[in-house]
Protein backbone atom coordinates (compact mmCIF):
# COMPACT_ATOMS: atom_id res chain seq x y z
CA UNK A 1 0.00 0.00 0.00
CA UNK A 2 1.32 3.48 -0.74
CA UNK A 3 2.39 5.42 2.34
CA UNK A 4 -0.28 8.03 1.73
CA UNK A 5 -3.03 5.42 1.85
CA UNK A 6 -1.63 3.80 4.98
CA UNK A 7 -1.54 7.16 6.73
CA UNK A 8 -5.06 8.01 5.63
CA UNK A 9 -6.34 4.67 6.87
CA UNK A 10 -4.53 5.08 10.17
CA UNK A 11 -5.90 8.59 10.54
CA UNK A 12 -9.38 7.09 10.38
CA UNK A 13 -8.54 4.21 12.72
CA UNK A 14 -6.58 6.08 15.33
CA UNK A 15 -9.35 8.45 16.38
CA UNK A 16 -11.58 5.45 16.93
CA UNK A 17 -8.89 3.61 18.86
CA UNK A 18 -7.45 6.52 20.78
CA UNK A 19 -10.64 8.28 21.77
CA UNK A 20 -11.28 8.19 25.46
CA UNK A 21 -13.21 10.55 27.63
CA UNK A 22 -12.49 11.68 31.14
CA UNK A 23 -15.54 12.49 33.12
CA UNK A 24 -15.04 15.42 35.40
CA UNK A 25 -15.99 15.77 39.00
CA UNK A 26 -16.05 19.54 38.64
CA UNK A 27 -19.09 21.73 38.82
CA UNK A 28 -19.30 22.30 35.08
CA UNK A 29 -19.17 18.62 34.13
CA UNK A 30 -16.66 19.25 31.39
CA UNK A 31 -15.71 16.41 29.16
CA UNK A 32 -12.35 16.26 27.46
CA UNK A 33 -11.93 14.01 24.48
CA UNK A 34 -8.60 13.58 22.84
CA UNK A 35 -8.14 12.74 19.24
CA UNK A 36 -4.60 12.44 17.99
CA UNK A 37 -4.45 12.83 14.26
CA UNK A 38 -1.63 11.37 12.20
CA UNK A 39 0.87 8.66 13.02
CA UNK A 40 4.05 8.57 15.01
CA UNK A 41 3.60 11.76 16.99
CA UNK A 42 6.87 11.81 18.96
CA UNK A 43 5.56 11.32 22.45
CA UNK A 44 7.93 10.93 25.36
CA UNK A 45 7.25 7.63 27.19
CA UNK A 46 6.94 8.39 30.88
CA UNK A 47 6.10 6.24 33.90
CA UNK A 48 4.06 7.74 36.73
CA UNK A 49 3.83 5.00 39.36
CA UNK A 50 1.29 5.29 42.16
CA UNK A 51 2.39 7.80 44.78
CA UNK A 52 2.89 7.04 48.45
CA UNK A 53 0.69 8.50 51.15
CA UNK A 54 -3.08 8.65 51.64
CA UNK A 55 -4.53 6.51 48.79
CA UNK A 56 -7.59 8.70 48.12
CA UNK A 57 -5.60 11.92 47.86
CA UNK A 58 -2.86 10.21 45.87
CA UNK A 59 -5.42 8.86 43.41
CA UNK A 60 -6.98 12.30 43.03
CA UNK A 61 -3.64 13.96 42.38
CA UNK A 62 -2.41 11.25 40.02
CA UNK A 63 -5.66 11.38 38.04
CA UNK A 64 -5.03 15.01 37.20
CA UNK A 65 -1.26 14.60 36.68
CA UNK A 66 -1.56 11.63 34.34
CA UNK A 67 -4.43 13.26 32.44
CA UNK A 68 -2.47 16.51 32.00
CA UNK A 69 0.55 14.66 30.64
CA UNK A 70 -1.39 12.41 28.29
CA UNK A 71 -3.82 14.97 26.90
CA UNK A 72 -0.98 17.36 26.10
CA UNK A 73 -0.22 14.88 23.31
CA UNK A 74 3.49 15.04 24.17
CA UNK A 75 3.72 12.15 26.59
CA UNK A 76 2.78 8.48 26.47
CA UNK A 77 2.08 6.94 29.83
CA UNK A 78 3.97 3.71 30.48
CA UNK A 79 2.21 1.46 32.97
CA UNK A 80 4.15 0.73 36.08
CA UNK A 81 2.77 -1.64 38.67
CA UNK A 82 4.95 -1.00 41.69
CA UNK A 83 4.18 2.15 43.68
CA UNK A 84 7.12 4.39 44.50
CA UNK A 85 7.84 7.56 46.39
CA UNK A 86 10.28 10.36 45.76
CA UNK A 87 12.71 8.72 48.15
CA UNK A 88 12.56 5.22 46.65
CA UNK A 89 15.58 3.79 44.89
CA UNK A 90 15.01 4.08 41.17
CA UNK A 91 15.26 0.87 39.16
CA UNK A 92 16.54 2.55 36.02
CA UNK A 93 17.14 -0.72 34.16
CA UNK A 94 13.65 -1.89 34.98
CA UNK A 95 12.10 1.31 33.65
CA UNK A 96 14.28 1.19 30.56
CA UNK A 97 13.04 -2.33 29.87
CA UNK A 98 9.46 -1.06 30.09
CA UNK A 99 10.31 1.58 27.47
CA UNK A 100 10.11 4.60 29.73
CA UNK A 101 12.43 7.57 29.17
CA UNK A 102 11.35 9.34 32.34
CA UNK A 103 9.76 8.61 35.70
CA UNK A 104 7.80 10.78 38.12
CA UNK A 105 7.65 9.42 41.65
CA UNK A 106 6.21 11.08 44.69
CA UNK A 107 4.08 10.99 47.78
CA UNK A 108 1.47 12.92 49.69
CA UNK A 109 1.77 13.75 53.36
CA UNK A 110 -0.36 15.77 55.75
CA UNK A 111 1.42 18.66 57.43
CA UNK A 112 0.82 19.95 60.93
CA UNK A 113 -1.79 22.54 59.90
CA UNK A 114 -3.87 19.98 58.01
CA UNK A 115 -2.44 21.01 54.68
CA UNK A 116 -1.20 18.49 52.18
CA UNK A 117 2.35 18.27 50.99
CA UNK A 118 2.84 16.83 47.53
CA UNK A 119 6.47 15.81 46.98
CA UNK A 120 7.93 14.41 43.80
CA UNK A 121 11.09 13.83 41.83
CA UNK A 122 11.44 13.58 38.06
CA UNK A 123 14.05 11.12 36.79
CA UNK A 124 15.78 10.73 33.42
CA UNK A 125 15.94 6.97 32.81
CA UNK A 126 18.74 7.08 30.23
CA UNK A 127 21.01 9.50 32.08
CA UNK A 128 20.09 7.86 35.41
CA UNK A 129 19.73 11.18 37.19
CA UNK A 130 17.03 13.18 38.92
CA UNK A 131 16.16 16.21 36.80
CA UNK A 132 13.93 18.00 39.24
CA UNK A 133 11.98 17.79 42.45
CA UNK A 134 9.74 19.94 44.58
CA UNK A 135 7.33 19.86 47.48
CA UNK A 136 4.06 21.72 47.07
CA UNK A 137 2.04 22.75 50.10
CA UNK A 138 -1.64 22.96 49.41
CA UNK A 139 -5.04 22.86 51.05
CA UNK A 140 -6.71 19.49 50.40
CA UNK A 141 -9.31 21.18 48.20
CA UNK A 142 -6.60 22.48 45.91
CA UNK A 143 -4.88 19.22 45.08
CA UNK A 144 -5.62 19.75 41.39
CA UNK A 145 -3.51 22.90 41.43
CA UNK A 146 -0.54 20.98 42.87
CA UNK A 147 -0.96 18.28 40.21
CA UNK A 148 -0.97 20.95 37.49
CA UNK A 149 2.23 22.46 38.89
CA UNK A 150 3.95 19.07 38.82
CA UNK A 151 2.76 18.54 35.24
CA UNK A 152 4.10 21.98 34.29
CA UNK A 153 7.50 21.15 35.74
CA UNK A 154 7.65 17.76 34.01
CA UNK A 155 6.61 19.33 30.71
CA UNK A 156 9.23 22.04 30.94
CA UNK A 157 12.11 19.78 31.98
CA UNK A 158 11.41 17.17 29.30
CA UNK A 159 10.28 19.27 26.31
CA UNK A 160 12.08 22.54 26.99
CA UNK A 161 8.74 24.38 26.75
CA UNK A 162 6.79 25.78 29.69
CA UNK A 163 3.62 23.83 30.46
CA UNK A 164 0.25 25.56 30.50
CA UNK A 165 -1.54 23.18 32.86
CA UNK A 166 -1.87 25.89 35.54
CA UNK A 167 -3.38 28.46 33.20
CA UNK A 168 -7.06 29.37 32.85
CA UNK A 169 -9.43 29.84 29.96
CA UNK A 170 -12.60 31.89 29.63
CA UNK A 171 -15.47 31.30 27.23
CA UNK A 172 -19.13 32.12 26.69
CA UNK A 173 -21.90 29.55 27.07
CA UNK A 174 -25.44 29.81 25.75
CA UNK A 175 -28.05 27.53 27.28
CA UNK A 176 -31.82 27.86 27.70
CA UNK A 177 -31.80 31.51 26.72
CA UNK A 178 -29.11 32.38 29.27
CA UNK A 179 -25.57 33.47 28.53
CA UNK A 180 -22.62 33.04 30.85
CA UNK A 181 -19.02 34.15 30.81
CA UNK A 182 -17.24 31.24 32.47
CA UNK A 183 -13.71 30.99 33.82
CA UNK A 184 -12.17 27.51 34.01
CA UNK A 185 -8.86 25.72 34.37
CA UNK A 186 -7.13 25.00 31.07
CA UNK A 187 -8.50 21.44 31.23
CA UNK A 188 -12.07 22.74 31.50
CA UNK A 189 -12.43 21.92 35.19
CA UNK A 190 -13.47 24.26 38.04
CA UNK A 191 -15.66 26.43 35.82
CA UNK A 192 -17.20 29.44 37.55
CA UNK A 193 -19.46 32.10 36.09
CA UNK A 194 -18.08 35.63 36.06
CA UNK A 195 -21.21 37.03 34.36
CA UNK A 196 -24.73 35.69 33.88
CA UNK A 197 -27.06 37.49 31.47
CA UNK A 198 -30.19 37.11 29.37
CA UNK A 199 -28.49 38.94 26.52
CA UNK A 200 -25.43 37.87 24.52
CA UNK A 201 -21.82 38.22 25.67
CA UNK A 202 -19.04 38.43 23.10
CA UNK A 203 -15.30 38.91 22.52
CA UNK A 204 -13.92 38.23 26.02
CA UNK A 205 -10.19 38.81 26.35
CA UNK A 206 -7.84 38.47 29.34
CA UNK A 207 -5.78 41.34 30.70
CA UNK A 208 -2.03 40.59 30.53
CA UNK A 209 -1.90 40.22 34.33
CA UNK A 210 -4.70 37.65 34.29
CA UNK A 211 -6.88 39.49 36.82
CA UNK A 212 -9.42 41.14 34.52
CA UNK A 213 -11.40 40.35 31.42
CA UNK A 214 -12.66 42.86 28.87
CA UNK A 215 -15.80 41.78 26.98
CA UNK A 216 -18.81 43.01 25.04
CA UNK A 217 -22.19 42.70 26.76
CA UNK A 218 -25.60 43.32 25.20
CA UNK A 219 -27.42 43.57 28.55
CA UNK A 220 -28.43 47.18 27.72
CA UNK A 221 -29.79 46.17 24.29
CA UNK A 222 -26.64 47.39 22.48
CA UNK A 223 -23.01 46.27 22.49
CA UNK A 224 -21.03 47.92 25.30
CA UNK A 225 -17.47 47.08 26.41
CA UNK A 226 -16.84 46.33 30.08
CA UNK A 227 -13.65 45.66 32.05
CA UNK A 228 -14.40 43.12 34.75
CA UNK A 229 -12.19 42.21 37.72
CA UNK A 230 -12.65 38.50 38.26
CA UNK A 231 -11.88 38.15 41.95
CA UNK A 232 -14.07 41.01 43.17
CA UNK A 233 -16.76 40.99 40.47
CA UNK A 234 -16.26 44.74 40.13
CA UNK A 235 -16.55 46.05 36.61
CA UNK A 236 -16.68 49.39 34.85
CA UNK A 237 -17.88 50.46 31.43
CA UNK A 238 -14.88 50.94 29.17
CA UNK A 239 -16.81 52.23 26.15
CA UNK A 240 -20.47 53.10 25.59
CA UNK A 241 -20.35 55.58 22.76
CA UNK A 242 -23.24 56.11 20.40
CA UNK A 243 -23.59 53.08 18.14
CA UNK A 244 -21.76 49.80 18.66
CA UNK A 245 -18.73 49.30 20.93
CA UNK A 246 -16.81 46.05 20.46
CA UNK A 247 -13.65 44.00 19.82
CA UNK A 248 -11.51 44.97 22.84
CA UNK A 249 -7.80 44.06 22.66
CA UNK A 250 -5.32 44.73 25.49
CA UNK A 251 -1.94 46.35 24.86
CA UNK A 252 0.87 44.11 26.19
CA UNK A 253 1.46 46.49 29.13
CA UNK A 254 -2.21 46.28 30.11
CA UNK A 255 -2.64 50.08 30.16
CA UNK A 256 -4.66 50.60 26.99
CA UNK A 257 -7.00 48.74 24.70
CA UNK A 258 -7.70 48.88 21.01
CA UNK A 259 -11.47 48.87 20.43
CA UNK A 260 -13.92 49.20 17.56
CA UNK A 261 -16.55 51.96 17.53
CA UNK A 262 -19.19 52.98 15.02
CA UNK A 263 -19.75 56.41 16.57
CA UNK A 264 -18.23 58.19 13.55
CA UNK A 265 -19.94 56.04 10.93
CA UNK A 266 -18.56 52.66 9.89
CA UNK A 267 -16.65 50.33 12.27
CA UNK A 268 -13.20 51.83 12.91
CA UNK A 269 -10.37 51.10 15.36
CA UNK A 270 -9.63 53.40 18.32
CA UNK A 271 -7.23 53.36 21.26
CA UNK A 272 -8.48 54.03 24.79
CA UNK A 273 -6.97 53.94 28.29
CA UNK A 274 -8.11 51.09 30.53
CA UNK A 275 -9.97 53.60 32.71
CA UNK A 276 -12.00 54.78 29.73
CA UNK A 277 -10.14 58.06 29.18
CA UNK A 278 -8.02 59.26 26.29
CA UNK A 279 -9.94 58.09 23.22
CA UNK A 280 -7.85 58.27 20.08
CA UNK A 281 -8.76 57.16 16.57
CA UNK A 282 -6.25 54.79 14.93
CA UNK A 283 -7.66 53.65 11.62
CA UNK A 284 -9.33 55.56 8.84
CA UNK A 285 -10.64 53.71 5.88
CA UNK A 286 -13.74 53.74 3.78
CA UNK A 287 -14.53 50.17 4.76
CA UNK A 288 -14.95 48.18 7.94
CA UNK A 289 -11.88 47.95 10.22
CA UNK A 290 -12.26 45.55 13.13
CA UNK A 291 -10.75 42.69 15.20
CA UNK A 292 -7.61 44.56 16.31
CA UNK A 293 -4.85 42.62 18.10
CA UNK A 294 -1.52 43.96 19.36
CA UNK A 295 1.69 42.22 18.36
CA UNK A 296 3.44 40.83 21.48
CA UNK A 297 6.03 43.62 21.39
CA UNK A 298 3.26 46.21 21.34
CA UNK A 299 4.60 47.83 18.19
CA UNK A 300 1.93 46.80 15.70
CA UNK A 301 -1.75 46.08 15.49
CA UNK A 302 -3.10 43.34 13.25
CA UNK A 303 -6.70 43.76 12.18
CA UNK A 304 -9.41 42.75 9.73
CA UNK A 305 -10.49 45.19 7.03
CA UNK A 306 -12.65 45.03 3.92
CA UNK A 307 -11.25 48.32 2.59
CA UNK A 308 -10.02 46.42 -0.49
CA UNK A 309 -13.43 44.91 -1.24
CA UNK A 310 -13.27 41.70 0.81
CA UNK A 311 -12.34 41.04 4.45
CA UNK A 312 -8.57 40.52 4.71
CA UNK A 313 -5.86 40.84 7.35
CA UNK A 314 -3.81 44.03 7.63
CA UNK A 315 -1.13 45.36 9.96
CA UNK A 316 -0.45 48.93 11.06
CA UNK A 317 1.76 50.64 13.59
CA UNK A 318 0.29 50.73 17.10
CA UNK A 319 0.10 54.52 16.71
CA UNK A 320 -2.04 54.19 13.59
CA UNK A 321 -1.26 55.35 10.09
CA UNK A 322 -0.73 53.35 6.89
CA UNK A 323 -1.61 49.67 6.94
CA UNK A 324 -0.01 46.82 4.98
CA UNK A 325 -2.11 43.97 3.69
CA UNK A 326 -0.98 40.61 5.09
CA UNK A 327 -3.39 38.03 3.62
CA UNK A 328 -3.74 37.50 -0.11
CA UNK A 329 -5.17 34.03 -0.67
CA UNK A 330 -8.93 33.73 -1.03
CA UNK A 331 -11.71 36.21 -0.41
CA UNK A 332 -12.25 35.93 3.35
CA UNK A 333 -9.45 36.02 5.93
CA UNK A 334 -10.39 37.32 9.37
CA UNK A 335 -9.68 37.25 13.13
CA UNK A 336 -5.88 37.65 13.17
CA UNK A 337 -4.25 36.42 16.41
CA UNK A 338 -0.46 36.71 16.74
CA UNK A 339 1.39 33.91 18.56
CA UNK A 340 3.09 34.76 21.90
CA UNK A 341 6.51 34.82 20.21
CA UNK A 342 5.22 37.09 17.48
CA UNK A 343 6.41 34.79 14.69
CA UNK A 344 3.09 33.28 13.63
CA UNK A 345 -0.42 34.48 13.02
CA UNK A 346 -3.46 32.29 13.57
CA UNK A 347 -6.57 33.32 11.66
CA UNK A 348 -9.80 32.06 10.13
CA UNK A 349 -9.92 31.49 6.41
CA UNK A 350 -12.99 30.67 4.37
CA UNK A 351 -12.33 28.02 1.73
CA UNK A 352 -15.17 26.61 -0.37
CA UNK A 353 -17.64 28.12 2.06
CA UNK A 354 -15.98 26.43 5.07
CA UNK A 355 -14.44 28.51 7.86
CA UNK A 356 -11.14 26.92 8.91
CA UNK A 357 -8.24 27.61 11.26
CA UNK A 358 -5.04 28.59 9.48
CA UNK A 359 -1.60 29.67 10.65
CA UNK A 360 0.77 31.98 8.78
CA UNK A 361 4.52 32.20 9.30
CA UNK A 362 4.85 35.97 9.35
CA UNK A 363 8.42 36.05 8.06
CA UNK A 364 7.89 33.97 4.91
CA UNK A 365 4.09 34.33 4.67
CA UNK A 366 3.63 30.57 4.29
CA UNK A 367 0.18 29.39 5.33
CA UNK A 368 -0.89 26.05 6.76
CA UNK A 369 -4.57 25.21 7.14
CA UNK A 370 -4.87 23.24 10.38
CA UNK A 371 -8.42 21.93 10.27
CA UNK A 372 -10.94 20.64 7.79
CA UNK A 373 -13.99 21.78 9.71
CA UNK A 374 -16.78 24.06 8.51
CA UNK A 375 -17.32 26.63 11.25
CA UNK A 376 -14.13 27.44 13.12
CA UNK A 377 -14.01 30.77 15.00
CA UNK A 378 -12.04 32.78 17.52
CA UNK A 379 -8.53 31.26 17.64
CA UNK A 380 -6.62 31.90 20.89
CA UNK A 381 -3.03 30.83 21.62
CA UNK A 382 -1.88 29.09 24.79
CA UNK A 383 0.80 31.25 26.43
CA UNK A 384 3.52 28.78 25.35
CA UNK A 385 2.38 29.10 21.72
CA UNK A 386 2.05 25.36 21.29
CA UNK A 387 -1.75 24.96 21.21
CA UNK A 388 -4.53 27.04 19.68
CA UNK A 389 -8.02 26.90 21.15
CA UNK A 390 -10.94 27.56 18.78
CA UNK A 391 -14.70 27.48 18.85
CA UNK A 392 -16.22 25.12 16.32
CA UNK A 393 -19.38 23.16 15.73
CA UNK A 394 -19.73 19.40 16.00
CA UNK A 395 -23.04 17.63 15.68
CA UNK A 396 -24.90 20.93 15.60
CA UNK A 397 -23.43 22.05 18.95
CA UNK A 398 -20.91 24.76 19.67
CA UNK A 399 -17.82 23.20 21.26
CA UNK A 400 -14.20 24.16 21.91
CA UNK A 401 -11.34 22.39 20.19
CA UNK A 402 -7.63 22.83 20.66
CA UNK A 403 -5.19 22.20 17.85
CA UNK A 404 -1.41 22.04 18.11
CA UNK A 405 0.39 24.62 16.01
CA UNK A 406 1.73 21.88 13.72
CA UNK A 407 -1.80 20.50 13.31
CA UNK A 408 -0.86 17.04 14.63
CA UNK A 409 -2.85 17.04 17.86
CA UNK A 410 -6.52 17.89 18.13
CA UNK A 411 -8.52 17.87 21.33
CA UNK A 412 -12.19 18.43 21.79
CA UNK A 413 -13.56 20.08 24.90
CA UNK A 414 -17.30 20.09 25.36
CA UNK A 415 -18.75 21.77 28.36
CA UNK A 416 -22.07 20.91 29.91
CA UNK A 417 -25.12 21.31 27.73
CA UNK A 418 -25.84 24.12 25.34
CA UNK A 419 -23.33 25.90 23.15
CA UNK A 420 -19.83 27.10 23.97
CA UNK A 421 -18.08 29.84 22.00
CA UNK A 422 -15.60 32.71 22.18
CA UNK A 423 -12.70 31.04 24.02
CA UNK A 424 -9.81 33.13 25.29
CA UNK A 425 -6.68 31.62 26.87
CA UNK A 426 -5.33 33.36 29.97
CA UNK A 427 -1.68 34.20 30.71
CA UNK A 428 0.76 32.24 32.88
CA UNK A 429 -0.23 32.44 36.55
CA UNK A 430 1.40 35.40 38.29
Amino acid sequence: MPIGLIIDTMKKLIPALALFSLLAGGSAHAQLTIEIAGTGANRIPIAVPDFGGDPANARALLGVLRSDLETSGQFKLVTSEAPMTESSTVDYSGFKDKGADAVVAGSLATSAQGRLEARYRLYDVNKRVALSGAAYLTAPTHLRAAAHRIADDVHEKLTGEKGVFSTRIAYVTKSNGRYQLQIADADGQNAQAALVSREPIMSPTWSPDGGRIAYVSFENKKPIIYIHSLASGQRHTLANFKGSNSAPAWSPDGRRLAIVLTKDGRSQIYLINADGSGLQRLSSSSGIDTEPRFSPDGGHIYFTSDRGGSPQIYRMSASGGDAQRISFEGSYNVTPRPSPDGKSLAFISRRDGHFQLAVMDIANRQIQVLTDSRKDESPTFAPNGRMILIATEIGGRGVLSSVSIDGKIKQRLSIGSGDVREPTWGPYAH
Binding site: S87, S132, A231, V260, T262, T290
Partner: protein, 177 residues
Protein backbone atom coordinates in the same frame (compact mmCIF):
# COMPACT_ATOMS: atom_id res chain seq x y z
CA UNK B 1 8.92 22.58 58.15
CA UNK B 2 11.63 21.10 60.33
CA UNK B 3 10.62 17.66 59.13
CA UNK B 4 11.23 18.69 55.55
CA UNK B 5 14.62 20.12 56.20
CA UNK B 6 15.67 16.85 57.80
CA UNK B 7 14.42 14.73 54.96
CA UNK B 8 16.14 16.54 52.15
CA UNK B 9 19.72 15.66 53.09
CA UNK B 10 18.70 11.99 53.63
CA UNK B 11 17.30 11.81 50.13
CA UNK B 12 20.49 13.28 48.80
CA UNK B 13 22.39 10.32 50.18
CA UNK B 14 20.09 7.87 48.44
CA UNK B 15 20.71 9.18 44.94
CA UNK B 16 23.30 7.08 43.13
CA UNK B 17 26.57 8.83 42.73
CA UNK B 18 25.43 12.23 41.50
CA UNK B 19 24.86 15.64 43.05
CA UNK B 20 21.67 15.69 45.04
CA UNK B 21 18.58 17.25 43.57
CA UNK B 22 17.16 19.15 46.49
CA UNK B 23 13.44 19.32 46.88
CA UNK B 24 12.24 22.91 46.41
CA UNK B 25 9.37 23.98 48.58
CA UNK B 26 6.64 26.13 47.16
CA UNK B 27 3.13 26.97 48.20
CA UNK B 28 0.52 26.48 45.52
CA UNK B 29 -1.46 29.62 44.80
CA UNK B 30 -4.54 29.88 46.96
CA UNK B 31 -7.70 29.41 44.94
CA UNK B 32 -9.63 31.54 47.38
CA UNK B 33 -7.40 34.55 46.81
CA UNK B 34 -6.14 35.70 43.48
CA UNK B 35 -7.77 32.92 41.50
CA UNK B 36 -11.27 33.37 42.92
CA UNK B 37 -14.16 34.37 40.67
CA UNK B 38 -17.18 36.34 41.89
CA UNK B 39 -20.39 36.02 39.83
CA UNK B 40 -22.15 39.11 38.50
CA UNK B 41 -25.77 38.82 37.31
CA UNK B 42 -26.69 41.36 34.64
CA UNK B 43 -29.92 43.24 35.21
CA UNK B 44 -33.04 42.35 33.31
CA UNK B 45 -34.95 45.12 31.59
CA UNK B 46 -38.73 45.16 31.67
CA UNK B 47 -40.75 46.45 28.73
CA UNK B 48 -43.12 49.17 29.89
CA UNK B 49 -45.99 51.23 28.49
CA UNK B 50 -45.91 52.50 24.92
CA UNK B 51 -48.82 54.01 22.96
CA UNK B 52 -51.23 51.76 21.08
CA UNK B 53 -49.99 53.11 17.76
CA UNK B 54 -46.84 51.13 18.37
CA UNK B 55 -48.18 48.10 20.23
CA UNK B 56 -51.53 47.31 18.58
CA UNK B 57 -51.03 44.30 16.24
CA UNK B 58 -53.41 45.94 13.76
CA UNK B 59 -51.27 49.06 13.51
CA UNK B 60 -48.69 49.47 10.72
CA UNK B 61 -46.16 50.63 13.29
CA UNK B 62 -46.48 47.30 15.12
CA UNK B 63 -44.30 45.93 12.32
CA UNK B 64 -40.71 46.69 13.29
CA UNK B 65 -38.54 44.46 11.12
CA UNK B 66 -36.89 45.17 7.78
CA UNK B 67 -35.34 42.15 6.01
CA UNK B 68 -32.27 42.21 3.78
CA UNK B 69 -30.92 40.05 0.97
CA UNK B 70 -27.59 38.25 1.26
CA UNK B 71 -24.60 40.64 1.28
CA UNK B 72 -27.00 43.55 0.89
CA UNK B 73 -27.28 46.61 3.11
CA UNK B 74 -29.82 48.78 1.32
CA UNK B 75 -33.56 48.92 1.98
CA UNK B 76 -35.61 46.91 -0.46
CA UNK B 77 -38.56 48.64 -2.17
CA UNK B 78 -41.05 46.46 -0.31
CA UNK B 79 -39.97 48.01 3.03
CA UNK B 80 -39.80 51.65 2.01
CA UNK B 81 -43.39 52.40 3.04
CA UNK B 82 -42.89 50.82 6.46
CA UNK B 83 -39.77 52.87 7.15
CA UNK B 84 -41.59 56.00 5.96
CA UNK B 85 -44.41 55.32 8.41
CA UNK B 86 -41.95 55.07 11.27
CA UNK B 87 -40.24 58.26 10.14
CA UNK B 88 -43.62 59.99 10.22
CA UNK B 89 -44.17 58.84 13.79
CA UNK B 90 -40.78 60.09 14.92
CA UNK B 91 -41.36 63.47 13.23
CA UNK B 92 -44.69 63.94 15.01
CA UNK B 93 -43.45 62.54 18.32
CA UNK B 94 -40.17 64.32 19.03
CA UNK B 95 -40.21 62.98 22.57
CA UNK B 96 -39.77 59.42 21.32
CA UNK B 97 -36.48 57.70 20.57
CA UNK B 98 -35.69 54.68 18.45
CA UNK B 99 -32.99 52.04 18.73
CA UNK B 100 -32.31 50.14 15.51
CA UNK B 101 -30.62 46.74 15.99
CA UNK B 102 -28.98 45.30 12.88
CA UNK B 103 -28.47 41.55 12.46
CA UNK B 104 -26.77 39.09 10.12
CA UNK B 105 -27.07 35.38 9.44
CA UNK B 106 -24.77 32.97 11.29
CA UNK B 107 -21.98 32.60 8.78
CA UNK B 108 -18.55 34.02 9.56
CA UNK B 109 -16.63 35.93 12.23
CA UNK B 110 -18.70 37.37 15.09
CA UNK B 111 -17.00 40.76 15.10
CA UNK B 112 -17.02 41.16 11.32
CA UNK B 113 -20.72 40.25 11.37
CA UNK B 114 -21.27 42.86 14.07
CA UNK B 115 -19.91 45.43 11.62
CA UNK B 116 -22.09 44.13 8.78
CA UNK B 117 -25.20 44.21 10.95
CA UNK B 118 -24.30 47.79 11.78
CA UNK B 119 -24.54 48.67 8.08
CA UNK B 120 -28.12 47.42 8.01
CA UNK B 121 -29.08 49.46 11.06
CA UNK B 122 -27.37 52.52 9.58
CA UNK B 123 -29.29 52.10 6.31
CA UNK B 124 -32.60 52.30 8.17
CA UNK B 125 -31.37 55.22 10.26
CA UNK B 126 -30.18 57.16 7.20
CA UNK B 127 -33.57 56.70 5.61
CA UNK B 128 -35.40 57.91 8.71
CA UNK B 129 -33.20 61.02 8.98
CA UNK B 130 -33.74 61.79 5.30
CA UNK B 131 -37.47 61.66 5.99
CA UNK B 132 -37.24 64.07 8.90
CA UNK B 133 -36.32 62.19 12.07
CA UNK B 134 -33.69 63.98 14.23
CA UNK B 135 -30.15 62.59 14.63
CA UNK B 136 -30.48 62.39 18.42
CA UNK B 137 -33.78 60.51 18.15
CA UNK B 138 -32.27 57.49 16.45
CA UNK B 139 -29.37 55.22 17.43
CA UNK B 140 -28.11 52.46 15.15
CA UNK B 141 -26.42 49.47 16.78
CA UNK B 142 -25.67 45.89 15.82
CA UNK B 143 -26.17 42.43 17.28
CA UNK B 144 -24.23 40.80 14.46
CA UNK B 145 -25.10 37.12 14.52
CA UNK B 146 -25.61 36.97 18.29
CA UNK B 147 -29.42 36.95 18.37
CA UNK B 148 -30.86 34.97 15.48
CA UNK B 149 -34.61 35.09 15.03
CA UNK B 150 -34.48 31.59 13.54
CA UNK B 151 -32.03 28.97 14.79
CA UNK B 152 -31.77 26.79 11.67
CA UNK B 153 -28.71 26.34 9.45
CA UNK B 154 -30.25 26.80 6.01
CA UNK B 155 -31.22 29.64 3.70
CA UNK B 156 -34.75 29.76 5.12
CA UNK B 157 -33.37 30.53 8.58
CA UNK B 158 -30.60 32.79 7.29
CA UNK B 159 -33.12 34.93 5.40
CA UNK B 160 -35.06 35.52 8.64
CA UNK B 161 -31.90 36.59 10.44
CA UNK B 162 -30.69 39.20 7.96
CA UNK B 163 -32.74 42.05 9.41
CA UNK B 164 -32.93 45.35 11.24
CA UNK B 165 -35.27 45.69 14.21
CA UNK B 166 -36.73 48.97 15.45
CA UNK B 167 -37.31 49.52 19.18
CA UNK B 168 -39.06 52.52 20.76
CA UNK B 169 -38.71 54.42 24.00
CA UNK B 170 -40.71 57.39 25.30
CA UNK B 171 -38.88 60.38 26.80
CA UNK B 172 -39.91 59.33 30.30
CA UNK B 173 -37.75 56.27 29.76
CA UNK B 174 -40.60 53.86 29.32
CA UNK B 175 -40.19 51.52 26.40
CA UNK B 176 -38.40 48.65 24.79
CA UNK B 177 -34.82 49.62 25.57
Amino acid sequence: MKKLLLIAPLLALLLTGCPSTPIKEAPVEDRQGSQAVTTVVAGDQKVTGLPLDLTDPKSTLYKRVVYFDLDKYDIKDEYKDLVAAHAKFLVSHRDFKMLIQGHTDERGSREYNLSLGQKRAEAVKRNLILLGAKEDQVEAVSFGKEKPAAEGHDEAAWAQNRRAQMLYKGVTGSGEF
